[in-house]
Amino acid sequence: MPEYIVEENALKDFLQSISKGRVLLSPQGVGDKCQITETTPDKVTLNFTNTHISPKTLFFPQTEWLMSFQKDHSKPHPYVYQDLGDKAKSAVVFGIRPCDAKGLSVSNKVFQNDRFTDPYWKGKYESVIKVGLACKDPFPQCFCVAMGGSPYGATGLDVLAFPSEKGLGLKPITDEGAKLLAEANLKEADLSSELKSQEEAAIKAQGIPDDYSPIDHRGLLNLFQDPQWQSIAENCLNCGVCTFICPTCHCFDIQDEENSEGGVRMRNWDTCMSWLFTVHGTGHNPRPSKTERVRQRFMHKLKYIPMKQNGDRGCTGCGRCVVLCPVNIDIRSVALRMSTLNMQKQA
């Protein structure tokens, strides 16, 4: 597929064109307020680090009402839950970062797994065309390369945009992306060599990546029983910040709320850091202390998900948890410790 180029002064027209008949979503706001929201072409900026918390909110809001029922027996279907319907709007998101797009593609395989499809996620995820923005200059928290990604990675994207010498370069990834660009009346350009050299430079700028591959080769139980989990967990407050801001964390809680007329069933973000998350009705808790809960988070991301998703990790190196963890539990150091084989003899 050919690449396209959009000159700087034509960016607005391009955005106008791709958002025709669709909602335009793009990162807005600065610093801790930066979040992907509905916007107009003139407000779109390329000058941002990344959204403060992950853009999973687009497809998996913090609170989502799933269904409702009413209690009046004179009306149809009393006490029977009715689907509140799919609220998905056709949209295009411009400026999602490759690490986040990849993270969401990992969650997508959980929400659309081998047996079930989550209609609430699917509706939203699949009605949004994803135009990613490559990261020319990495930020200090970035480690996508070490996690097997790239600042120019295309996983989970329909189109990859990147700053080119002549303006904004656009590389279609999927058929849907190609169609979007073809309809936008753009200038074709061969940018493949520029793209390649840019990507190489950006990867190099992240420094020599840590090697986490030993985790893939270590036995599950060998990793699980490693005594160092205790010392990793010692710092942890079990606050769960890391899970809430993470692009691949997808766990949720289902809650019912009712009043005298009826009620709704909703789902809310939940976190494996909470003891309530796993406690049985009998009071038995399979993950009773923070050591088990911390282990669960890292094992899930770095071992369980790769086992289930052909080696793709549940961490894409966006670095949010590195920055926001109040006690500096750095997933990079944890992954390195998990990669250290001499802690215990190999299983």
Partner: protein, 148 residues
């Protein structure tokens, strides 16, 4: 349009105000019927979350009443309660709850007339505040219109 009738959740101490309400009834003293009474063993048992829960579920006002200081059935329960009330009162006032929606009082079991007057007063003040729209949970939208 009929006048707004406020819904008020009342937390009464079993040993005093609850008795005063009883006595007022037996004495045929008329007072407004806008209360849903929760009986407490002592105002010391009042947890702030009770008050917030009442407002959250749509109460227009909350009234907490117990024994006069020094008269606690459990010696000192209401002394501790008083300090809690002070903190609670300033907190709720500071975050913008209208002062008239939350009432604290001391009414002994003999003070049926004080109870009657206080009940009327509480209702009138809450009525003047109007319905509680801001300090309650958002209504559940059941979406039944489309479904039905």
């Amino acid at each position: 349009m009929s006048e707004f009738e406020p819904k008020i959740v009342a937390f009464f101490c079993n040993w005093c105000t609850y008795g005063a309400a009883d006595l007022a009834g037996v004495s045929r003293l008329e007072y407004p019927p806008n209360f849903r009474v929760v009986r407490l063993p002592c105002t010391g048992r009042l947890n702030p979350k009770f008050i917030l829960e009442a407002f959250k579920r749509g109460a227009d006002g909350v009234w907490v009443s117990g024994c006069h200081p020094g008269d606690c059935h459990y010696i000192a329960g209401n002394y501790y309660a008083r300090r809690k009330f002070i903190v609670m009162h300033y907190m709720l006032d500071s975050i913008g709850l209208e002062a008239d929606r939350l009432r604290f009082s001391w009414i002994s079991s003999a003070e049926a007339t004080k109870f009657q007057h206080m009940a009327t007063d509480v209702v009138e003040h809450v009525r003047a505040c109007g319905p509680n729209l801001k300090f309650r949970k958002a209504p559940l939208i059941l979406g039944m219109e489309e479904v039905a």
